[in-house]
């Protein structure tokens, strides 16, 4: 067994701060929806609004990070292994079969994760932001840009919230389906995850590929400051030739 550094510091910061914000938004949001009484309507509204602003800032930073690091490609949907992944969750997992999609640096997410996380990011969250901020700014029909009614955005916002709750439930469960019950969780805390031999070989070759590219364009050396370069000092031209 080997360990690979899969989740970078910003990714982990993003993941945990986002999950905290989503929890807060869900808990206050459903109180605003009158699903229950917990902290009081006024506090719920105030916290929901502040949290939404923080979430927006975090999201802007994260989009920027994904674009500049190229990590956005991780979320491109693919059909490769999709069927196998579904079969794994439906049957293979019960027989202790191996995970069909290996984790590598260039493809950390399995095809289902790609679709679901990608869907959340490009569909659910933008709709939540859009409807949420329309709610915030146009809650009363006034001069200028205005809504005939809050109903449509309120309904969309609520529907989105239900989807996120369902996502959280399934996500929390699937977290336990890693190599061990806590291995996925640990990986998201430390960044390091245990991977099998085959995947580690792919990762090494990926790193080597990058290193080669790096060396080839030595002029651009300073511009490429990939984290793996600092961690994996052992991968050099000499080791590659071995």
């Amino acid at each position: 067994m080997k360990k690979a550094y899969l989740y970078k510091a910003y990714e982990r910061f993003w993941h945990w701060s986002q999950s905290t914000l989503v929890f807060i938004l869900l808990i206050t949001g459903f109180e605003i929806h009158s699903s229950y009484i917990l902290i009081g309507y006024e506090s719920a509204v105030a916290i929901h609004n502040i949290t939404a602003w923080i979430f927006l800032v975090l999201t802007i930073f994260t989009i920027f990070w994904h674009i500049t690091s190229g990590e956005w490609r991780q979320y491109l949907p693919t059909t490769v292994n999709l069927k196998a992944q579904i079969q794994f969750y439906v049957s293979g997992i019960f027989k202790n079969a191996p995970h069909p999609a290996g984790k590598t640096l260039l493809s950390k997410l399995n095809p289902l994760q790609r679709i679901v996380y990608g869907g959340l990011t490009v569909l659910v969250f933008p709709v939540m932001f859009l409807t949420g901020f329309m709610y915030y700014f146009f809650h009363f029909p006034m001069q200028g840009v205005e809504l005939a009614s809050l109903e449509v955005i309120a309904v969309l916002h609520t529907l989105g919230a239900f989807c996120i709750v369902a996502f959280v439930i399934v996500h929390l469960y699937l977290m336990t389906t890693g190599r061990t019950i806590t291995s996925n969780f640990q990986a998201m805390v430390t960044g390091w995850e245990e991977i099998d031999e085959e995947d580690s070989m792919i990762i090494e070759s990926e790193m080597a590929e990058s290193a080669r590219a790096l060396i080839k364009s030595s002029n651009g050396k300073d511009r490429l400051k990939q984290p793996w370069k600092r961690k994996q000092k052992t991968v050099t031209e000499e080791t590659l030739q071995d």
Partner: protein
């Protein structure tokens, strides 16, 4: 174990943060309460400079022995020349003013000719009703509205508290009033001056408005934060700012247009809360809605008046009074049955400041008859139609009644109610609806078929007074709640916390439940089969 500790920490961290933020919220509220009240166009009494005003005792003309009330007015006008021209323009004098009514054009409206569902109307009964007129001698249509000595200056300007008008005497003062004493001690109107009519309208304290009550002469902060004698002790005209005898403010029982009004914003500004979300509510919610959570908080007000049971006399043929458990009139032979209530929850309506009225000539189109109707809706944002302001949600006292109407002509009836003498056809003396209706309609030159019946009516009184202490103002949850909220009846818009789409709710809950069940089944099956296929674990191979 450590793993699970970290896991649970990650899950509960958000909850801790929420709890922390919730705590901060309440601290902010406490800080907000200590903030000084934001005021414009008003100087607190504590900060005012006391000015010596004129001493009317020193005017020779007021030392004469006044023959009658008219001569007092003459004396007043000898110094305050031309003031009568201002008075004669006011609705306090004319009891009518030109108002544009939707679909009816310009109509001269006022107490003079409008019907209500209390004492119905003044026509034919002026002798008693004009006890609340700022004049002397309006006993019938012959009253001269151009005679300046008919003006009663003292009813508004008496500062002695001894000036009283006689019952049934068309506005003349009681013989016991010392006119010299009163005339020498005049000044700006006090609460007592306004209150004698505005508290007692409809024949008793707090009968009509529900938020204007003799308790306001000396009340606690609980009853009225503005007029409380424990606090700012404001008089009526501090808000109803008056220039040239034009008293601002109007009640939509009688008026229709959105003009010459008094508003909370004139002193409190349009952003009084120091909180964006609360201030935003002002776009569509009147201050009164949250700040008058209940009305008739000091004394009960009349909620229902059923004229149809009037006329029952006792065994000796005399009219009678029956009090209810609280000592209010439950039944009066002259007026019928009443229901009173106190600490009443208002009803809420969209209102843009424009009212309409069921005029006596108007055909009855629907029952209950809307004696006055308040215009407005969620979609009325002001600029697109009649009013320049968007409709706001207002708290309203709705007074319901059953009163006489003509089922053949399908109009309301103005009966003659009062007369000094028996045999003149006045209902309160002779107890015959038919004759009273004939006399009343004849007086107005209006047709009467000879048949009468009783019809249900509703009258709308937007609430403005007896503003409650801020601790008692409505909270978010009073409206933003699924069931039984204050705005449950206003169905023309989506209100967060109150409304939801049942379909979406079912879809959402099913989604959550199926996720939970799916996850649970998967987990159980995984645990069981995990043992069975233990040897199959490729990691162990």
């Amino acid at each position: 174990m450590k793993k699970y500790a970290i896991l649970s920490l990650a899950l509960f961290m958000p909850l801790f943060i929420i709890a922390l933020m919730g705590g901060q919220g309440t601290e902010d509220e406490e800080v907000a309460e200590e903030k000084e009240l934001k005021l414009v166009n008003y100087v607190l009494k504590a900060k005012r400079v006391n000015m010596e005003v004129v001493d009317h005792n020193k005017f020779e003309i007021l030392q004469q022995k006044f023959k009658n009330a008219h001569t007092v007015t003459e004396a007043c006008l000898s110094c305050h020349t031309e003031r009568h021209t201002e008075i004669m323009e006011t609705s306090h004098w004319k009891w009518e003013r030109d108002e544009v009514l939707e679909g009816k054009g310009v109509v001269s409206l006022g107490k003079k000719n409008i019907l209500n569902n209390f004492c119905i109307g003044v026509s034919g009964s002026e002798g008693t009703c004009t006890r609340c007129h700022i004049g002397y001698g309006w006993k019938d249509k012959s009253f001269d509205f151009t005679e300046k000595t008919n003006i009663d200056c003292l009813i508004c300007h008496d500062n002695t508290g001894t000036y009283k008008k006689e019952k049934g005497s068309a506005g003349y003062p009681k013989a016991s009033v010392n006119l010299n004493y009163v005339a020498s001690n005049v000044g700006s109107p006090e609460r007592e001056n306004c209150g004698v009519c505005h508290f007692w309208g409809g024949g008793g304290n707090n009968v009509k408005h529900g938020d204007l009550d003799q308790a306001m002469l000396d009340c606690s902060r609980e009853v009225d934060v503005h007029m409380t004698t424990d606090g700012e002790n404001m008089s009526c005209i501090e808000c109803h700012v008056t220039e040239n005898h034009n008293i601002t403010g109007k009640v939509f029982a009688l008026s229709s247009e959105n003009k010459n009004r008094v508003s909370c914003e004139q002193c409190h500004t349009e952003k009084p809360h120091g909180d964006n979300i609360l201030d935003d509510h002002l776009c569509r919610i009147a201050c009164q809605t949250c700040h008058i959570p209940y009305y008739a908080r000091a004394n009960p007000t009349k909620m229902i008046w059923d004229w149809s049971t009037a006329g029952r006399l006792d065994e000796e043929g005399h009219p009678m009074h029956q009090p209810d458990a609280d000592g209010n009139h439950k039944y009066m032979s002259i007026k019928g049955h009443f229901i009173w209530d106190d600490n009443v929850t208002p009803e809420y309506f969209w209102f843009n400041g424009i009212a309409n009225h069921q005029l006596i000539e108007d055909k009855i189109e629907s029952v209950p008859v809307q004696m006055n109707s308040l215009d407005g809706s969620y979609k009325d944002k002001g600029f697109c139609k009649k009013s320049i302001n968007p409709s706001k949600i207002w708290p309203v006292k709705v007074h319901r009644g059953r009163q006489i109407y003509d089922p053949v002509n399908n109009t309301l009836i103005q009966p003659k109610l009062w007369d000094k003498e028996k045999g003149e056809g006045a209902y309160w003396v002779d107890f015959d609806w038919g004759i009273a209706a004939q006399k009343g309609m004849d007086y107005l030159d209006l047709p009467y078929s000879g048949e009468y019946d009783f019809v249900e009516t509703e009258m709308y009184w937007p609430l403005n007074h007896q503003v409650a202490p801020k601790e008692q103002s409505l909270k978010c949850i009073d409206c933003h709640t699924r069931k039984g909220g204050r705005l449950a009846s206003l169905g023309d818009f989506y209100l967060p916390g109150r409304d939801h789409k049942a379909g979406i709710e079912i879809v959402g809950i099913l989604l959550i439940i199926s996720s939970l069940i799916g996850v649970l089944i998967h987990a159980v099956y995984r645990t069981i089969s995990g043992k069975k296929y233990e040897n199959n674990n490729y990691l162990n191979n």
